[in-house]
């Protein structure tokens, strides 16, 4: 197992996985507590449209996913604020539009797209130095945002209406939270791919929130658990020669099931 660490791609994969766990644990805690799993799933899948745009116009698919993810998080957020009764329909449609757009643009682009599969299901071992730099930047941005707006995000997550009466800009903070979900998706893209993002975004926090009260503790331990899943899953996939993203997700899901047995 130790010999795997000699390979640079394995080391990069490990670092990438850890960086992804940080954003995942922090933002995932909001996603689980505020119960916005579905809209987050919509945002993460819609990001695939951005990957297609990147391919088609010849720029980095990750940047494409970032721009398109932010755009669709805004649309879905607006839909959920303004058209409550149609919220889930609109999210479902945008979810599918993003995926379809991605497939069509990739098939139209003349360039060879060998790693289409890797954007759908991740390929942690192809993480490059440049990816890691982007991930560090995104982690930093998410961390700072949550520190600056911690009490407001807590208040609007717990009781939107009261926060509105207190004069807080509830719509802004809700959209900002979804924006952070889009950033987290981009961080996770290389690691587990668009289809599995929602699993890693929710599972660590879902396990931890069964045992802890405070949002800060849930964030902290979710990050730790996410790091553990990444490392254990990566080594497991290396030993058994399995796809890494799916191995990490299955391992996390197994722990989630076990945790349900020990729930307080």
């Amino acid at each position: 197992m130790v010999e795997a660490l000699q390979f640079e791609f394995f080391r990069n994969g490990l670092i990438g996985g850890i960086l992804a766990s940080i954003a995942c644990g922090i933002i995932g805690s909001y996603v689980v507590s505020k119960r916005i799993v579905f809209i987050s799933g919509g945002i993460s899948h819609a990001c695939f449209g951005g990957i297609g745009i990147g391919y088609f116009f010849g720029f980095s698919p990750l940047i494409g996913a970032l721009l398109f993810g932010v755009f669709s998080s805004f649309l879905m957020g607006k839909a959920s604020l303004k058209a409550k009764e149609k919220e889930d329909t609109i999210i479902g449609v945008l979810w599918a539009v993003g995926m379809s757009l991605g497939i069509i643009l990739i098939s139209l682009s003349k360039r060879y797209a060998p790693d289409l599969f890797s954007y759908l299901f991740g390929s942690i071992l192809t993480i490059t130095e440049a990816d890691i730099k982007l991930m560090i930047f995104l982690d930093f941005f998410i961390f700072i945002s949550v520190i600056l707006f911690y009490k407001e995000l807590l208040a609007i997550s717990f009781d939107e209406e009261f926060s509105r009466v207190r004069g807080l800009n509830v719509d802004f903070f809700y959209l900002y939270l979804l924006f952070l979900v889009a950033l987290t998706t981009v961080l996770l893209l290389r690691v587990v791919g668009v289809i599995l993002v929602i699993a890693l975004l929710t599972i660590p926090s879902a396990i931890i929130s069964q045992f802890f009260y405070s949002l800060k503790k849930i964030m902290l331990f979710s990050v730790a658990l996410g790091v553990f899943f990444m490392i254990a899953g990566l080594f497991l996939s290396y030993l058994l020669n399995l796809p890494s993203g799916a191995t990490i997700v299955l391992l996390s899901s197994f722990f989630y099931l076990v945790s349900l047995l020990f729930k307080r």
């Binding site: 407001e152 807590l154 009261f162 509105r164 009466v165 009260y213």
Partner: protein
């Protein structure tokens, strides 16, 4: 002193296409303790939300302390309905009360010493200081209601608005809760809404009935006609069953 803290003149409110409030007129005076009763779906919560400026009337005028609801709501401490909360949410009593101190001027800042002192005092006032570090979901209905009152108090309001405050309070605890409101009444104007006629008790000074229209005589008196109009049901049960008879003989 006859100052109106809430002044509602002929407002009409639509939710979607449906008119839910029709020609509502209501003046609430300083230090009133007003109970608004009406059946579910009668527009009680909509009226509160209109007072808070969350919903806008399409006709009529509403003033809170002489200002528009958007401005005037800073004078209001709001205690929303129990059903709106997710009791699994990871937040402690202390954190909940502190959120009552938030407003736009607190962006990018931590809670100040003043915020914490005021929150501490509010928790004492509702006798919940021992529960400070408990998770909100661990409390009983009555305890939780006290915490939400504390959260409303920390903004140092002039008016306290409560939506179905007794909905999840055990009956033995109800009296204690009313005692708390009675204490608060010395400094505040209190408006509470409920579908439950049982709230008309010795503690409440004035009663209004609402079901799309509002019936109010600036007193505790309800006319049987009003109750018939609002509830559309036999009212002798109410008149005889209530602990304090409030209905006068008709005629």
């Amino acid at each position: 002193m006859n100052e109106n803290v809430i002044e509602i003149k002929g407002i009409y409110v639509k939710l979607g296409e449906m008119v839910v409030l029709e020609d509502i007129n209501l003046n609430v005076k300083k230090n009133d303790f007003l109970g608004i009763i009406g059946p579910n779906g009668g527009g009680k919560t909509t009226l509160l939300k209109t007072i808070l400026g969350i919903i806008k009337p399409y006709k009529g005028d509403i003033k809170i302390m002489g200002e528009t609801p958007e401005k005037g709501r800073e004078y209001i401490g709001y205690v929303p309905q129990y059903v709106f909360f997710d009791m699994k949410f990871p937040i402690t009593v202390w954190e909940v009360v502190l959120t009552g101190r938030l407003n736009r001027t607190k962006y990018f800042k931590n809670y100040s010493k003043e915020d914490k002192d005021i929150s501490e005092m509010a928790l004492k006032q509702v006798e919940m200081e021992k529960y400070k570090n408990k998770k909100i979901g661990e409390l009983s209905g009555g305890e939780r209601q006290r915490v939400f009152v504390a959260r409303a108090l920390v903004s140092q309001p002039q008016i306290l608005l409560l939506d179905e405050p007794m909905a999840n309070v055990d009956s033995p605890r109800e009296k204690e809760f009313y005692e708390l409101l009675k204490k608060l009444k010395e400094k505040l104007t209190i408006v509470l809404v409920s579908h439950d006629i049982g709230i008309i008790s010795a503690y409440i000074d004035k009663v209004a009935c609402i079901n799309r229209k509002l019936y109010f005589h600036d007193s505790k008196e309800i006319k049987i006609d009003d109750l018939m109009a609002v509830y559309g049901c036999p009212v002798d049960m109410i008149a005889h069953g209530a602990p304090h008879r409030v209905l006068k003989e008709h005629g």
